[in-house]
């Protein structure tokens, strides 16, 4: 049953300097359906893949509005995500009550990370099993952060988390250089394409994804289904017209995806087996 004698407790170090329970929590993020975020100078777009648990059920909400200027997309344990969203909402409201101005995004993210960090250092707690993409706008501009169960946080130009997010990341990595100057519409389009990359052979439809936007003069809001479907239809038509250049792109991505996915799985299995970390430090993300 136990493959590892150092993973029964969050506070127990392995001799290799790792905290397995924390790493397992980060695995939970990878199991959740994908969430994607990308940012220009003025806008941030969040997108997520909606997966229903069964044919008979609806999907769970994965994007939450925190305040007019902040929203989150989550991957992992949705229940934990809701608790953290509620915490973020109340922090925003309290700040707004005291100072009558919006809470700077970076500060909320640090508070959130500190909250997650505490759970990695207390024997009677468990780390949150959720990764959050925090999109926000404040006086220093548009921001996109990733918050991890380990208590680490990073600022990104574009990022994707959750299952099959590697394909979306590959797409974003190829395109992110242009994002800073992107228009709101282009950003949404890129979000939709990145979302499509992380779908499992499904067709991209508004019913399988959610898109949310925050930007200058535009409070955080989730786009309604019709709008999303219209956007999908418009760029899918454009894509068919440009099918010649678009085709090889799709091909390479499909090649890339199977390579990455099993690789990640093996990595996870090895981690559980307590093997030496390959490459970067295991706590990096």
């Amino acid at each position: 049953m136990f493959r590892n004698q150092y993973d029964t407790d969050v506070t127990t170090w392995s001799p290799a300097g790792r905290l397995f329970q924390v790493e397992y929590a980060m695995e939970a993020v990878k199991q959740g359906s994908a969430a994607i975020g990308l940012r220009s100078k003025t806008h941030v777009v969040l997108a997520c893949v909606n997966k229903a648990n069964s044919e008979l059920s609806s999907h769970q909400k994965k994007i939450f509005k925190v305040d007019d200027h902040i929203g989150v997309a989550i991957a992992g344990l949705t229940a934990d995500g809701r608790v953290l969203s509620r915490y973020m909402r109340s922090e925003c409201i309290n700040y707004n009550y005291t100072y009558e101005s919006p809470l700077p995004v970076g500060r909320l993210v640090v508070q959130l990370a500190d909250k997650a960090q505490v759970c990695t250092q207390r024997s009677w707690k468990r780390p949150y099993g959720v990764g959050l993409l925090v999109a926000g706008l404040d006086e220093s501009g548009a921001h996109l952060y990733y918050n991890c169960p380990s208590g680490n946080y990073f600022e990104y130009q574009a990022f994707a988390i959750g299952s099959r997010s590697q394909a979306a990341k590959t797409y974003l990595e190829r395109r992110f250089n242009n994002f800073t100057a992107s228009s709101r519409e282009d950003l949404i389009k890129d979000a939709l394409i990145a979302t499509r990359e992380s779908l499992q052979g499904e067709k991209l439809r508004s019913s399988v994804c959610t898109i949310a936007v925050v930007g200058v003069g535009e409070p955080f809001h989730i786009l309604d289904q019709e709008t999303v479907q219209q956007l999908i239809d418009t760029f899918e038509i454009v894509r068919e017209e440009e099918s010649a250049p678009a085709e090889p792109e799709v091909a390479t991505e499909q090649d890339a995806a199977p390579d990455q996915a099993p690789g990640a799985d093996q990595g996870g299995a090895e981690n559980q087996g307590g093997a030496e970390p390959q490459g970067g430090s295991p706590m990096d993300i």
Binding site: Y97, T98, Y99, E100, S101, P104, G106, R107, V110, D138, E139, S140
Partner: protein, 232 residues
């Protein structure tokens, strides 16, 4: 639980400062106050600084109970220290500090233990000028020119007539001196040692104290009770 008789509250002020007058001008905010500290009606202290810079973008002027003002300064120093400790490039502007003070003042009044002050908070951040006031019961507002205490009655009518947004620094100081001179003549707790402070995008300056030129030889000043039947 402390009983009401045991708890200590400011039931009335001990040492008080008089009016603060503040205006917006072309490049920011100007504030003026004298340096008197009255123990009841006795002019007990003559060098009390009542204008203080708060953080990078704000300036505070206080009238009323001096020790309560010192307490408020402790709150604000802590607030600014904590803000700086984030070290993330964000900083509280005058609007945020004013709102914070509003919450503190109103909260203390609701505990029936008010901070016995009228405060003026001015500042400029990212080209946005801000000037507001809050008093001991939490009443607060923003305006282009504000004054506390007797200044509300004696200085603001002058400001309403003569103020405009594009005053230069020199014109602004002259206008404030005019207000302070009227207060000096008519407010018995005003003293002739005033300070002017300025805040612009470049930062806050509290200028060294100086005196206003006065002229007391007007006939009405010489014999103020003439024609006032029954007065001594």
């Amino acid at each position: 639980m402390d009983s009401v008789s045991e708890s200590q509250r400011t039931l009335y002020p001990y040492v008080t400062g008089s009016s603060v007058v503040a205006i917006k001008f072309k490049d920011g905010i100007l504030m003026a106050a004298d340096m008197g500290g009255s123990y009841g009606s006795t002019l007990r202290y003559k060098s009390v600084e009542r204008l203080k810079p708060i953080g990078k973008h704000s300036l505070l002027g206080a009238s009323g109970e001096i020790s309560d003002f010192q307490e408020i300064m402790r709150y604000l120093d802590e607030l600014i220290l904590n803000d700086n400790m984030w070290d993330d490039g964000n900083s509280l502007g005058p609007k945020e500090v004013h709102n914070y003070l509003t919450r503190v003042m109103y909260n203390r009044r609701n505990k029936f233990n008010p901070l016995w002050n009228s405060l003026v908070l001015g500042g400029i951040k990212k080209g946005q000028k801000y000037l507001g006031t809050v008093n001991m019961i939490g009443i607060n507002y923003e305006d282009n020119h504000v004054a506390t205490g007797l200044g509300n009655h004696l200085a603001r009518p002058i400001l309403r007539d003569e103020w405009n947004e594009n005053l230069s620094f020199e014109e602004g100081v002259r206008l404030l001196e005019k207000c302070m001179r009227v207060l000096l003549y008519r407010d018995r707790s005003a003293v002739n040692k005033i300070q002017i402070s300025r805040i612009t995008e470049e930062g806050a300056t509290v200028f060294p104290p100086y005196s206003l030129k006065t002229y007391w030889e007007f006939s009405a000043f010489k014999n103020p009770t003439v024609g006032a039947e029954g007065s001594w």
